[in-house]
Structures are given as structure tokens and as C-alpha cells.
């Protein structure tokens, strides 16, 4: 998952032997997974003393624990709860981020004026707001929506503003000379023109939102994957802790892959 507000560089130029490259790349990646699981096993089962709690984190305990969690009937409700919170938080971030990005992309003076404040807010970890959010919204979904939105809004703001600034002024002139009102110019020229930028911002926001979601669910809620980690720890069920971590990583990878596919790989540069 991309956690920084940048985009991963484009893939290295492909060799003409694309099919072979594709197969060998998949082979390499499978090999890396096997090596990672092996290291995981060696650390938790061979190096750790037999009495250590690390034993519980071993793959041979953690992977079956996923099934146990599912059998308990908590895994899927937790996944849906977490995905729902991510979705609502992202929706809030998109609405606020696109509106703000349109404004600061359109008016240079607003961009200049807002820069120090936005820079400050951007560099405060969204989780720092957790006590404020819980104080304001109480226990439940809403502080999590807030924290996810607070984290996810920045890449959307920055990419939207960059998109607005990169619009060919001639397009706006052409629309205006055809009789478009400012609102019609917005819907017929500006919004379609910034779409790829907004989608890039959304993909980055999804990554950040997912990363923030789990710790946000450790504060002031009683459901979701983040809560399930703490709950399992309180029951000293470390195999289940590791199982939830695996689920989080897996879901995150799937979400990112889906976003890449649905939203394009992001051909525009983020700020």
C-alpha cells in the first residue's frame, strides 16, 4: 500500500520478451512469499524459546486461527464494519477534498494563503486527533469516520488542486465563448479534465485511509478489525492477533489492486 502521498514510479521498461518476463516475475514474487513465510516460521518457531509468546505468532498457528475467527462468527462482521467505515470516511474525504482542491486550484492567492495551515495539518498524524474526535463524537463509528477522512483528505486536495492548475486555459475560453456559464464550465470542462488527478488522489487516499483505519478502531469502538486485534490480545490469543494482521494485510492488498484496476494506475504525478 502506498502510505506516502506519492505514486510508485512507473514500471521499469519492459523487455520485448513480455510473456517470459511476466512468468518469471510471478515466479520471483512467489519465491519471495515463500522466503518471507520461512523467515516468519524460523523466527517464531525455531529461534524463539518454546515458552515464548512468539510461538503463538507462528504461521502454523496464525493461519488456522483465521478459520477459527470465521467459525466464531466475528471475522466477517468485523471485515464489513471496517470496510464500511473506510468507505464512509473516504466519501467524506472526497467531497471535502474535491471542493477544497477546486477552490485552491482556482485561486492562486487562496493556495498561497492556505499553504502554511495545510502544511501544518498535513504533518499532524490524524491519530493525534483521536481524543478530540472521541470527545466530540463519542464512542462509535463517527470518530473513526472522522479519523479516516482526516487522513485521506490531503492527497485528494493536493491532486485535485494540481489537476485544476494543469487545465489548458484555452478549454475554459472555448467553453465561455460557446456561452457556458461558470457552473456549466465547471461540469463540462473542469470536472472531466481533473478526473484522472482526482482518481489518483483517491487511490492514495484509499491506502492512507486503510492504514489509519486499524489504529483508529483501537480507540473508542467495539467492532472492526482494529478492535479485534485488541480483543484477541486481551484474551491472550496471540494466534488470533496474528490472524487479524494477516487479514488486514491481505484485504489492503486486494483493495489497492482493485483501486489500481478501477481507477487507472495513475499516470499523473502527485504533488
Amino acid at each position: 500500500m502506498s502510505t506516502a502521498e506519492t505514486i510508485s514510479p512507473p514500471p521499469v521498461t519492459r523487455s520485448p520478451r513480455t510473456s517470459r518476463t511476466w512468468a518469471s516475475r510471478l515466479g520471483l514474487q512467489l519465491l519471495a512469499v515463500v522466503v518471507a513465510v520461512a523467515i516468519w516460521w524460523v523466527i517464531t518457531s525455531v529461534l524463539a524459546s518454546p515458552t515464548s509468546m512468539l510461538q503463538d505468532f507462528a504461521p502454523q498457528h496464525a493461519i488456522p486461527a483465521i478459520g477459527a475467527l470465521a467459525a466464531q462468527g466475528v471475522l466477517f462482521p468485523d471485515i464489513w464494519t471496517s470496510l464500511w467505515r473506510l468507505l464512509v470516511g473516504l466519501l467524506i474525504a472526497v467531497v471535502l477534498g474535491v471542493v477544497t482542491g477546486l477552490a485552491i486550484g482556482t485561486w492562486q492567492s487562496l493556495e498561497t494563503a492556505s499553504r502554511p495551515v495545510f502544511q501544518f495539518l498535513r504533518m499532524v498524524s490524524p491519530l493525534s486527533w483521536a481524543p478530540v474526535a472521541i470527545g466530540l463524537f463519542g464512542i462509535g463509528d463517527r470518530p473513526v469516520f472522522f479519523l479516516v477522512a482526516a487522513a485521506a483528505v490531503w492527497p485528494i486536495v493536493l491532486n485535485t488542486a494540481a489537476g485544476v492548475r494543469s487545465i489548458d486555459q484555452g478549454f475554459l475560453l472555448a467553453a465561455r465563448s460557446l456561452g457556458a456559464t461558470p457552473a456549466e464550465t465547471l461540469t463540462s470542462v473542469v470536472l472531466p479534465a481533473i478526473r484522472p488527478h482526482v482518481l489518483t488522489g483517491l487511490r492514495l487516499a484509499l491506502g492512507i485511509g486503510w492504514v489509519v483505519l486499524v489504529p483508529a478502531e483501537m480507540l473508542g469502538v467495539t467492532s472492526g478489525l482494529g478492535y479485534e486485534i485488541l480483543n484477541s490480545r486481551d484474551q491472550l490469543a496471540y494466534d488470533k492477533v496474528m490472524a487479524v494482521i494477516l487479514v488486514i494485510g491481505l484485504l489492503g492488498s486486494i483493495l489497492d489492486a482493485l483501486a489500481r484496476r478501477a481507477l487507472g494506475t495513475g499516470n499523473r504525478q502527485a504533488v
Binding site: D168, G170, F171, L173, A174, A175, R176, S177, L178, G179, A180, T181, E184, S188, V189, P192, A193, R195
Partner: protein, 249 residues
């Protein structure tokens, strides 16, 4: 000639201390093709933007004497660059004006299809602008403006970015299309031969914001006869004198 569709009286436009237009009078007659000729920086693009209503005058007035409704004559502008929206197909680009409330009463989708045929764009109708040649793109941009049925079509050096052969074929095509559609044209250019080929009237700007002369040339000429056109020597002389003046100043 017909009635006056658009009239400039004493038009003055300044940028700082520099008067780009200085008391220009201009009548655009309906069904005429007026070409405003001038070298770069002579204020011809400013003049066109004033006519398009995209620029306010500092002094003088723009009136629409024969306007038949409160809104006055509808003016459409074609720019130097095609400025096609890259995410829309040729057809959707031509239909762009139909999305705007200002054109709702004048626009219909069937007309777009007629224009696609008339402008020779049938094979390209479903392509994106990136797949077009420069000449095709400029034809689409003219069709986009014609689709909102303007009373007057303004063209700001629309062919200046094209190669000479394309440029010439588009001049032929534009003169025919204007006749077929009954368009009133106002075009600015720095190309004397383009002016002579397309114009029924020529106004020469003198480089200091005033009109140096106005001529009618009613008989249409072929490209091959332009060298002998009676007005050619006059216009070129006017051109040279102001280039000399510009160099001396």
C-alpha cells in the same frame, strides 16, 4: 449588401499606456466575409475578442443594430488552436455547445450530424481529438462553433498553425462552407493572400490601433489569380509602410 449585424464605434482598448485599439469604427454586414488584416501586435486579436464579447472596451461601443431579440446577435469564436476537449469524441466535441443553456433554443442534434457530413468528418466522428490531423482538428473546432448557429462566426487566425497545403485547402473549404451555410464571417489574419481569397471586405489595421483602410472585393478569386488581384499591391504597400514604421519607431 445586407444589414449591419455588429457595429464598433470609436472602439478604444488600452493595456497600460499602450493603446491597442484607438478609435476603430467597423461595420460587420450580414452575409459578408470581413477580413481584418494586420501584422502581429496590430491589435487584430484584441479587436476580435472585443467583437466576441470576451473583452470590455475602455471607450466606444459595440452595438448589434439588427438584433431580432433581446439577446442580440449570437457570436461564435474559432481560435488559433482547435482547443478540442481531449476526452470527448469528434461528435461530442461538435455537440459541446448543446450542453449549455444559452444555446438550447438554437441547437439540435440532427444539425450536428449534418455538419459532420458537410465538414467531411464522417470517418472521424467517433475518434478522439488525439487521432486527428491539424487540419481535421481545426475543422472540428469550426463545426463546434457553427453547431450553435451563430449569427456571426469570428475566426482568430484559425489556419496559422497549419502547413501551407492544408491551409490552402481549408481556405477553399471555408469559403464554400460559409456560402453553403449562409454564414457571416469575421476573420483576422496577417496573410494578404488569405485575406484576398476569403474576403468580401478587407480592413487593414495600421499598427497603431487605427484602421488604415477598408476595401470591398466582391468578385471571388481563385488561388491562382491572387497574384494579379488589383487590391494585392495596395494591401502589401500598406503592410510594408507600417512594417517600416514599426522598425523605425
Amino acid at each position: 449588401m445586407g444589414t449591419v449585424a455588429l457595429r464598433l464605434t470609436g472602439a478604444t482598448k488600452r493595456y497600460g499606456d499602450n493603446a491597442v485599439l484607438d478609435g476603430v469604427d467597423l461595420d460587420v454586414e450580414r452575409d459578408s466575409r470581413l477580413v481584418v488584416l494586420g501584422h502581429s501586435g496590430s491589435g487584430k486579436s484584441t479587436l476580435l475578442r472585443v467583437l466576441a464579447g470576451l473583452e470590455e472596451l475602455d471607450a466606444g461601443a459595440l452595438t448589434r443594430p439588427d438584433a431580432d431579440d433581446a439577446r442580440g446577435a449570437v457570436v461564435g469564436t474559432v481560435f488559433q488552436q482547435p482547443l478540442l476537449l481531449p476526452w470527448l469524441t469528434v461528435r461530442d466535441n461538435i455537440a459541446l455547445g448543446g450542453r449549455y443553456r444559452a444555446n438550447k433554443a438554437r441547437f439540435d442534434a440532427a444539425h450536428v450530424e449534418e455538419l459532420i457530413d458537410l465538414f467531411g468528418l464522417r470517418a472521424q466522428a467517433d475518434l478522439l481529438p488525439s487521432a486527428l490531423s491539424g487540419g481535421q482538428a481545426q475543422r472540428v473546432s469550426i463545426a463546434r462553433v457553427v453547431a450553435v448557429r451563430p449569427d456571426i462566426l469570428l475566426l482568430d487566425e484559425p489556419f496559422s498553425a497549419l502547413d501551407p497545403a492544408t491551409r490552402r485547402s481549408l481556405q477553399v473549404w471555408l469559403r464554400d462552407a460559409a456560402a453553403a451555410l449562409g454564414l457571416t464571417l469575421v476573420m483576422v489574419t496577417h496573410d494578404v493572400d488569405e485575406a484576398l481569397y476569403l474576403a468580401t471586405e478587407v480592413t487593414l489595421l495600421d499598427g497603431s490601433g487605427r484602421a488604415a483602410g477598408h476595401w470591398r472585393c466582391d468578385a471571388p478569386t481563385g488561388h491562382d489569380d491572387l497574384a494579379d488581384h488589383p487590391l494585392r499591391a495596395t494591401l502589401l504597400a500598406g503592410y510594408r509602410s507600417q512594417l517600416g514604421a514599426a522598425a523605425a519607431s
